[in-house]
């Protein structure tokens, strides 16, 4: 029952994704065509709040609700990993009109096609796991 808060946080996230239209295929098309400020405003503002928030948490050694310190793990630098991985992800994001969160939001909203997208995304993750040692990281 202690975990129910994550279900509620996820529900809030799903409602935000839907109501902001960040989960809409149309908005993703508009974003990649630079034809409206909407999506840039959403991501930009989240980051504009997030940067000082994380900075403040680190500076004050912020604790989580259980009293444990909140840790931010630095990501090891690599060019191929983030560039190639990012490009493949971006191709898929534009083609399906949804990143992983919004795929699930769209299934909840009743778009059966996104069930196919989700299963394919699991298969993509599976193949990455199998090929991992052969890919440049």
């Amino acid at each position: 029952m202690k975990q129910i808060k994550f279900l509620l946080a996820g529900t809030l996230f799903g409602i935000i994704m839907f109501k902001s239209e960040a989960a809409s295929w149309y908005r993703i098309q508009e974003m990649f065509r630079f034809q409206d400020f909407h999506m840039y405003g959403i991501i930009g503002l989240a980051v504009a709040i997030g940067v000082p928030m994380v900075w403040f948490m680190k500076k004050n050694n912020a604790k989580d609700s259980s009293g444990a310190p909140i840790v931010f793990r630095p990501k090891a630098w690599s060019i191929p990993r983030y560039l190639f991985g990012g490009i493949i992800f971006g191709l898929g994001w534009a083609l399906s009109g949804a990143c992983p969160g919004p795929i699930v939001v769209n299934i909840g909203a009743g778009f059966a096609g996104y069930i196919v997208v989700l299963v394919a995304a699991m298969f993509g993750t599976f193949l990455y796991g199998v090929l991992r040692d052969k890919l440049p990281h």
């Binding site: 994550f6 809030l12 409602i15 902001s20 991985g85 399906s96 096609g113």
Partner: protein, 185 residues
């Protein structure tokens, strides 16, 4: 109530996303949705095929609950938090561009021809859905995160790796939209 039923402006949505990130940090977790894809693979037995999937998936059960919540949120929003005449109000320029590709102006949240039940009766459409999903899943894990992990959490933590990943997201997204869409639609 009327304000909730209308589409939410970017400044409300962006602030709320930052709030969700804070909420997960406060709960001792970090915001990264695509990790769930790996967890789901492990639950389906992928750990028998690759060491990448050998981990205690129960440690990620909180994130799976978050995923279930996201689906529930989509259901609640579409059924109870919209007006009957709701359409996604994208710009005229986008409507024009999409009409050239054969897409009608929005009448639903996503084009039904692509993502509704009818989309599953055309193998070309299914191929698009499978290819798109596959690249999202493969790319997210290769890049070590998706929009939530890199564009929101990673950049908020000023991680150069996340910035590079987001540059990659845009190179891929722009190539798909401007170079590949005209070939497939």
């Amino acid at each position: 109530m009327d304000l909730i039923l209308q589409p939410w402006p970017w400044y409300v949505s962006g602030a709320l996303i930052a709030f969700v990130m804070w909420l997960l940090l406060y709960f001792g977790k970090s915001f990264g949705f695509s990790n769930n894809l790996r967890t789901l693979c492990t639950m389906c037995g992928a750990d028998k095929f690759a060491p990448f999937f050998k981990f205690n998936w129960k440690e990620q059960s909180w994130n799976l609950l978050f995923l279930v919540g996201a689906g529930l949120g989509g259901y609640i929003a579409t059924n109870y938090l919209t007006t009957p005449d709701y359409v996604v109000a994208i710009s005229e320029a986008t409507i024009d561009d999409l009409s050239v590709l054969g897409f009608a102006a929005p009448t639903a949240y996503a084009p039904a021809s692509q993502f509704g039940m009818e989309a599953l009766s055309s193998w070309q459409n299914i191929l698009i859905l499978v290819t798109g999903g596959f690249m999202v899943g493969f790319g997210a894990r290769y890049a070590g995160g998706c929009t939530s992990g890199h564009a929101i959490s990673g950049i908020s933590d000023l991680q150069p790796a996340s910035l590079l990943a987001v540059v990659g997201f845009f190179i891929g997204g722009l190539a798909m939209t401007h170079l590949i869409f005209p070939l497939i639609y």
